[in-house]
């Protein structure tokens, strides 16, 4: 049996009815594949993994795989994850959110999760659009692009998810695209093993709702665009400003030693209770 | 408890400014009466948004039996540590209710029949103006004849942080002794069976 088939048999839920909800050409399946591979190669037990998702296309990812899976409310996945991690620090809590989920409605929770460095891993699947509700602009829709709620072009500036998370104090921040699957595998693994809050921003194309309105004839064009514009940090820094604008910097932007909040709390409790 | 007189809704209001320790005063008194004496006590409070300054008020209802309505209806005793509180609450006293004021801060009393001691000045003499509330507590322990000094001291020790207990006990004694000296007959005011 091919390796991928073995993984599918091991990690996909046999009781779940298919097909899945994702459109042809969607990048979210690549992220799920990468997540499954990362968990498999890290050797984590299924029981110890909790996937917590918000609302939107990305929110539908966890239901297909055989872990502890929780599909929460819009933007609030990190709050549930915080409760779970503090209640049982042994669990590996991985949060899957979309761009609107994490930064628009859930922006407050993201910046505070980063600030308090709770030991959960956030995967933010950035497709620059509200996909599930039918292509409205999100806070990461690039200025000038078209959506159903910016039919004459987006006037607002967009968020840089990685930068926001970094300045809020997250101890691990990285960005990749679905075109760099191998890099994504290692970034996810690294983020999950990192103590404290880790965030991996993953650019994932949405041709159905974003590409079609923004001069991408096919979804393949979007993948080509991601491949062309993604530039490793080192190279990106050397580019002239006009080229930087069109490029997408990828790589690990932040990695610092830290102790997760759950660990700090456990230590405080230990000393208060006089346990050693 | 057996020596404690029978009470039916004896109502006290402690009032003054935020930061004077009105609530702490009420809590120490309430705890002494509830836990050490064994009375039913309800302590309620009313406060504004300010942490310091502004009006502060703490009411106690003391009864031998169960207390249904927890708030005060008409006061047996009003303690006013500010002029504003004195003016505001005087009308809530029963016709035969009594007024106790801090004469350092209340210069005009609405009646000539009142008890008055300069609590704030006395607290300054004790060495810490923040003990004004406890000076008043000492005096109250004299005026309210059914309240035992030993119970109040015990409750004071339990509630206040350990490092400020000594100075507060000093303040308590100052208030208690001064009230006893200046108003030796005062506790006779209320006849409890």
């Amino acid at each position: 049996m091919a390796k991928v088939t073995q993984l599918i048999h091991k990690y996909l839920r046999h009781s779940k009815r298919f097909p899945h909800v994702f459109c042809p050409g969607c990048g979210h399946g690549i992220v799920l594949g990468s997540l499954v591979r990362s968990i498999h190669y890290m050797g984590l037990a299924k029981d110890d993994v909790v996937l917590v998702a918000g609302i939107g296309c990305s929110g539908r990812i966890p239901v297909y795989v055989d872990f502890n899976t929780i599909h929460t409310t819009h933007g609030r996945a990190l709050t549930f994850a915080t409760g779970i991690k503090l209640a049982n620090p042994r669990l590996k809590v991985i949060v899957i959110m979309g761009d609107g989920d994490a930064l628009s409605i859930g922006g407050n929770h993201l910046i505070h999760a980063a600030r308090r460095n709770i030991g959960v891993t956030a995967l933010v699947l950035n497709n620059h659009i509200y996909g599930m509700t039918g292509g409205q602009s999100s806070c990461t829709t690039p200025t000038g692009s078209f959506s159903t709620t910016s039919p004459f072009g987006q006037l607002e500036d967009e968020f840089d998810i990685s930068r926001v998370t970094k300045v809020c104090g997250a101890s691990f921040v990285a960005r990749t695209t679905v075109m760099q699957a191998a890099a994504m595998d290692s970034m996810i693994s690294e983020a999950v093993m990192h103590p404290g809050f880790g965030m991996v921003e993953i650019l994932s194309p949405c041709h159905t709702q974003y590409g079609r309105k923004n001069n991408f004839k096919t979804c393949v064009d979007m993948y080509k665009w991601l491949q062309k514009s993604s530039t490793p940090m080192e190279k990106y820094r050397e580019l002239p400003p006009e080229k930087q604008e069109k490029a997408i910097a990828t790589g690990i932007f932040e990695k610092k030693d830290c102790t997760g909040l759950e660990e700090k709390y456990a230590r405080m409790r230990k000393s208060l209770r006089g346990e050693n | 408890m057996s020596n404690d007189p029978h009470l039916d809704r004896f109502e006290v209001r402690l009032s003054g400014l935020g930061g004077q320790g009105i609530l702490t005063l009420g809590r120490i008194m309430g705890q002494a009466l509830a836990l050490d004496h064994g009375y039913a006590v309800t302590q309620t409070q009313s406060y504004g948004p300010e942490a310091r300054g502004g009006a502060s008020r703490c009411d106690l209802v003391i009864s031998t039996g169960r207390i249904s309505y927890p708030k005060t209806i008409s006061l047996d005793l009003l303690v006013a540590l500010s002029q504003e509180a004195c003016n505001k609450y005087f009308s809530d006293l029963k016709p035969d209710g009594f007024l106790l004021v801090d004469t350092s801060l209340v210069s005009q009393t609405p009646t000539n029949i009142y008890w008055g001691l300069p609590f704030t000045t006395m607290a300054q003499k004790v060495g810490l103006v923040q003990t004004t509330n406890i000076v008043a507590l000492g005096a109250l322990t004299h005026f309210i004849s059914f309240m035992r000094a030993t119970s109040v001291r015990k409750s004071l020790r339990e509630i206040l942080p350990r490092k400020i207990v000594d100075i507060n006990l000093k303040a308590f004694n100052a208030g208690f002794n001064r009230a006893k000296k200046e108003y030796p007959e005062a506790p006779e005011k209320w006849k409890f069976s």
Partner: protein, 384 residues
Amino acid sequence: MAAGSRKSKTIEIFALGNEAVVEGALIAGCTFYAGYPITPSTEIAEEMASRLPHLRGGVFIQMEDEIAGLGAVIGASLAGRKAMTATSGPGFSLMQEHIGYACLTEVPLVLVNVMRAGPSTGMPTNPAQGDVQQARWGTHGDHPIIVLSASDVQECLRMTVTAFNYAEKYRTPVILLLDEVTAHTREKISLPDPEDINIYTRLTPSMPPEWYMPYEDNMRGVASMPPLGSGYRYHVTGLIHDDHGYPTSNPMEVEQIMYRLFRKIDQFFYDIQMVDEILCQDAEICVIAYGCVARSAELAVQQAREQGVRAGLLKLKTLFPFPRPAVEKMLRQCSSILVPEMNMGQMSREIKRVNNGQSKILTLNRVDGQIITPGQILIKILKG
């Protein structure tokens, strides 16, 4: 241990209603609190912050807002903890989203709402009872909920224990409504020996994981609930779901879960209905009250009796599911019913709904941020 061979240890303390909530929660086995400070519920958070880290596994966390507070509580409950939060008016509004989530995903938790005068920021330090219908219907969509109330400090403790018991027994969020008066009254209470009271903890599955269905129907309508990470991997979602927890829009499956959610509360109505009948036996006029107003009413009823009026008090401790049988009994018995409440008539509307012309319903409403006094109620009783 044989009965009588152990001396129960009761400790008396002089405590605030809010502090009694914490005592009750800890006795019930609560080890997790998440919330956001708001007057007049803040003492609950403060007390939890200093007490919980002393307990084995105890966790307190102050979140960024009330939405996050209840979210973290749900997460902790899924991880197997008995968890709670506390808030007041504006925070309660923010929490509605997650109350609905907890109802549908059947996550046990306790939410204490200390009612202050509203709407909006209202009067943060003044009492009111304006959140009664919000507690029942605040979150969107049809849902069952248990709403309890407490009127004195000892009851704050007891009802918090009860709230945890119901939450765990019926896998549902339970809302405990207090008011500013009850929360900020200090009284003597006795802390019961935990061995003397019933503490209910959710059932965990005993079948092999592959047989487990998280939302399976059974006689009780309540499935067992394993903590996350215990080998029972299942899906939790705020979408309408089937027995396995997977999203569904199949009308038959949707109907099944919706009916079961209501049934699991309705069929245990008599376990959940809690009222106190005070001087009701021969009453001709009955006051129906809850929260701090019930205490005013108790004094008013005594005073009315002294004046020869046969008055009684029905104190509601369970507000929802609405204690209809207990109310109907008084409606049949009494010529008039007086409903004093510190809102514009949120509970009297329920009483009128079940009256069917049996009794005259009088209301007494006060919304100026002050408690209804015994005198006000007495006048109404005497006027009949």
